[in-house]
Symmetry: D2
Subunit: 344 residues, 4 copies
């Protein structure tokens, strides 16, 4: 199969190249950028001698003709426009941006402060939280790849929410992300000296991932109310940790809940549930497509603390995108994604 | 006035030296360690040419005779023993460990898994949360300096708890600390390669600072119930951020609550309240005794997110210790603590 | 005395504020920027409650009238223009840029690839390597503050070069700097994710500090030939280490050379010579004005390895600038510069 | 083929697991440690669900019977003893320690300050600098895997030394390494707070890799004299950069020398020569087996600056070990080593 990547010079695009280079089924047909047409290793010298392809301008009709699937690793707004163009062809689309995720256009207007794509596209696109939407993804032509924070949060919350074991108004997500989530651009806020030896909280109660998380939680349990969601910028490059707090409706032991999680995710090769008393660390999934989850039910408070970690560029972006592409094409979900975490 | 430091070779001790070297009232009479008697700059070369004193063995009676005040920058257990010895002399004591903080000996047994100091000492020691206990500290001879996490958490929660504006069972504290809090020793868990590019959660629901925080919260409002408290190890050296979540009993705007905080801390030179829409960052207090606090009341959820940052070695340890010593001795609270944060 | 700062929102300007806030002689009369007129703590929130002054536009004649001394913490090119304007007034000038350092205008053209300031100014400005030029600085009205790399390198090389103990063609400087040296702007090259967990070499054999170093070395010994100078970008915020290699003309022991260094710098309070077998580390001078130097003469090769470290924003910029201002005004060289290194 | 690993819980051992897990030819027969017999993912949780093998005690005769090749990822001294034991069996040995690298036992005594292994073993072991010793490695049964620093330095120096284009007494190597090179143990010197935001120079002119580098350089050109070699501890986990300085005997342009390097390494898939004006960065080889080399000949000084980077755990340890195993067994040198660098 032939695949193309748009937005190749960003970190998500670079990670797609790392994955696809060794993928057993997909061949990289073409790579694209809105910027000048140079060899990819001018932009990414680490790919010298590995991928020597030239970056090309974006011509959706040409791409759709030559490739079977396109990954849109472009920012919100840009992705939406491209998705509209590609949706008129028959190429498969996996969009890594937020433009196709919210089915309610008004939510997009509120949180993204911009006009959404045409509503038809929003209704067609399938939300690609791989572990929870396999059937729909399998028959989808357009997949909205989940956000990095929503992936970590939703995978960690799903079993308790779906089983309605928690107070639906009690969900608090304290999330932390490495700086690669802010992209490869240059701005003072991600200047090394500003991020290093620092921890910043940002977009308090106004992050555009809030409606995305709520939309999916409500699919699992319509009772779920508004969540509290905070995001922090960590002085690391890769990785997200979501520490989550929920109130149990009735007493459950840590072991009972862990058992529920193990059962729920028994068939999900990328979800690893930690044993009792152990918790995940960001570095233990670095460079891989794993989502590691640990939890503890506190008998003192009746609250469960759930900890979920992913590599934001892998399971939080390019890794899950390829996982979704695999599902869309009936290939083994794990194909091309067998990366052992790079530790230390 | 003459002061002595015990436990000088740890990070807390080193920070005391940095502060006291320029203090307008205190002179460093002697510095002590349980280890070999070497010049301090053998252990801390950054002090070469600045502090050339020799480390001495610990002889409480000699120290009590020669000094007016002793800082115990020793670990829990060691501090308790020393405090017992010094309590029989008339020297002033500021203990930076957790040994004198919990007034209920059983709480110590549960959370520290060890025998507490003799109960009389626990009753005598005054909890040194400077901004909230000035009167008692002023007349105290023995001060239990608060833990780093409790300092950040309590200063951030105090106004809302004291005014009983929040659901007393809703307090959740998601805390993050730099690695200097784990001390200067050598153990695999703080090996650079394990901490760097990582984020680890630890002691979930079992941190010994939980009873310390609850004890003080209950003094402000007896209705307060058990808290949820999580601690994460950040890949930075200095700094703590506590992100806190509480449920309002009735609607309040962010501005109303900010006003309450500004009033409450109007006379506290080290507490800085952020304006609406701004939040503190760890680096903005680095090397200083400030505690910066920002907050947001979310109208969607009725929850307040409070963010509090300190330098764990300063306001979270040595800085507050000197602040307490100042208060004990009727000196300006700010004396010797005018450090401008080291930014960037 | 009244001082003004231009370029206050950069890292050098911020560091000047940190120093001057506690300076016993200088008062900050005004602070300036080419950007909008906001309160400094909008730009630098860490200064909230400490320095509340408003940034003002730059009017050289007004500044010269109201202040006794101006620090130009502006980039090359901008500084030169300002220095020309201020040179027509009688205000004292300490320029932190490279614009006044090279006395030969052609060298400026070659290495800075731009037109230098008018030659008269180049001849008037005194090179402010404090430890080596005290007499001239004392009577100067305009001081060209040395570059960060040249400061570290020259202080480390001076005694051996001045005594002509080394092969004058053998000087190799392998320098490493933290990212704050690249300023506070936003560009991809100092994006956190690009710098973190990385080490980059840059401007190989073409760094504009090469002629500055050679100019001073040749003053000490006209025999000195072209040097080799490399610069690396470290994933840290503050600090420079210069590791230097020189060939001895005749055998000398490490101890003999250390003795020479101790004698040479005996009266220099900010230079600390390491004892035999010890070497400086960047963190041991962080936040201070020290330059720590260690060295080893290898009997196998006849080469001396010299290691010199500074905080690039202090001794490499703002610290030395204040030291020079002190010397210019007959104040104790150390005034306002007694910072104990922030360790760890 | 069946392979065993001894010293699996160190960073080198962990990296061998990451490589061998996907290797097309080798199967991990057994993994060993001197410590307790636990599952490997107790020690390395990042391997949960990937490698579930149990660590076993070390029984050389049993291992030799069951496996075809053993990797000794044990420290110096331990490795030597094991190599002696294994050398009496017919298993293939790749030793990652320094114990078999120096053919002259006296050099070992001087630099390692200990007794070497029996001389026969030193004469039998082949030095495994893959790119330069393929023929001998191909027929070897025992391979001494090169040190991390020597790999980076030798690959960078080889062409110029072999062609005798440089002054044989002029070689200076300024090397920098990430902290994973110091292993996974706990000691104050690699405590996070000591290494972070710091740069330390260590073992000045006394590093045990000096004789290893000189031994190989002299094989290429007997004229080579003693080198100057410095090592610095970087605040990163992975990676080595060696910046090297040599004096040309006669004028050569950068392009001429680059051409020599490109020709020399034309058949070496892991060596990448940078184009004119570009230099390697540590992060561009992270997690991969590449050694990237860039250089510049300075017409002002007649000196060449050569920059060489590797991932110390890959090309500097486990990666080259597998590369050598491949060569020993007539397998494609690249087998199992196709890792794309993890960037950013």
């Amino acid at each position: 199969m032939k695949v193309s990547i748009i937005g190749t010079t960003g970190y998500g695009g670079g990670e797609l190249l790392r994955i696809l280079h060794h993928h057993p089924v997909y061949n990289i047909q073409s790579i694209h950028t809105t910027r000048e047409e140079i060899a990819i290793n001018e932009e990414y010298p680490h790919l010298s001698g590995i991928i020597e392809q030239k970056l090309e301008k974006i011509d959706p009709y040409k791409i759709a003709k030559e490739s079977d699937l396109v990954f849109l690793a472009t920012p919100s707004r840009v992705s939406g426009k491209l998705a509209e163009a590609f949706s008129e062809t028959d190429i498969q689309i996996v969009d890594l941006s937020g433009d196709l995720r919210l089915t309610d256009p008004d939510e997009y207007r509120i949180w993204y402060k911009d006009e959404p794509v045409k509503e038809e596209l929003l209704q067609t696109a399938v939300y690609g939280l791989s572990e929870w939407n396999r059937a729909k993804i399998a028959s989808a032509r357009i997949v909205a790849n989940p956000g990095c924070y929503p992936t970590a949060a939703l995978l960690g919350l799903a079993p308790l929410v779906k089983e309605e074991l928690i107070d639906p108004g009690s969900i608090i997500i304290d999330a932390k992300s490495g700086a690669s989530g802010a992209g490869r651009g240059g701005s003072k806020s991600i200047n090394f000296s500003e991020v290093n030896e620092n921890l910043k909280i940002y977009k308090v109660n106004e992050h555009q991932h809030i409606p995305e998380i709520e939309q999916q939680l409500k699919k699992w349990s319509p009772k779920v109310k508004q969540i509290t969601f905070s995001t922090h910028l960590l002085p690391i490059t890769r990785g997200i940790m979501a520490t989550m707090y929920v109130q149990l409706l009735e007493e459950k032991s840590t072991e009972e809940i862990l058992e529920l999680y193990r059962e729920t995710y028994g068939d999900s090769p990328f979800i690893r549930i930690k044993p009792f008393g152990r918790y995940p660390s960001i570095k233990e999934v670095s460079g891989s497509n794993f989502c590691d989850i640990g939890l503890h039910a506190d008998q003192r408070t009746g609250r469960v603390t759930i900890v979920s970690v992913i590599d934001n560029l892998m399971k939080g972006a390019a890794g899950q995108a390829v996982q979704n592409a695999n599902i869309m094409n009936g290939i083994d979900e794990k194909a091309g994604l067998g990366f052992v975490p790079l530790y230390p």
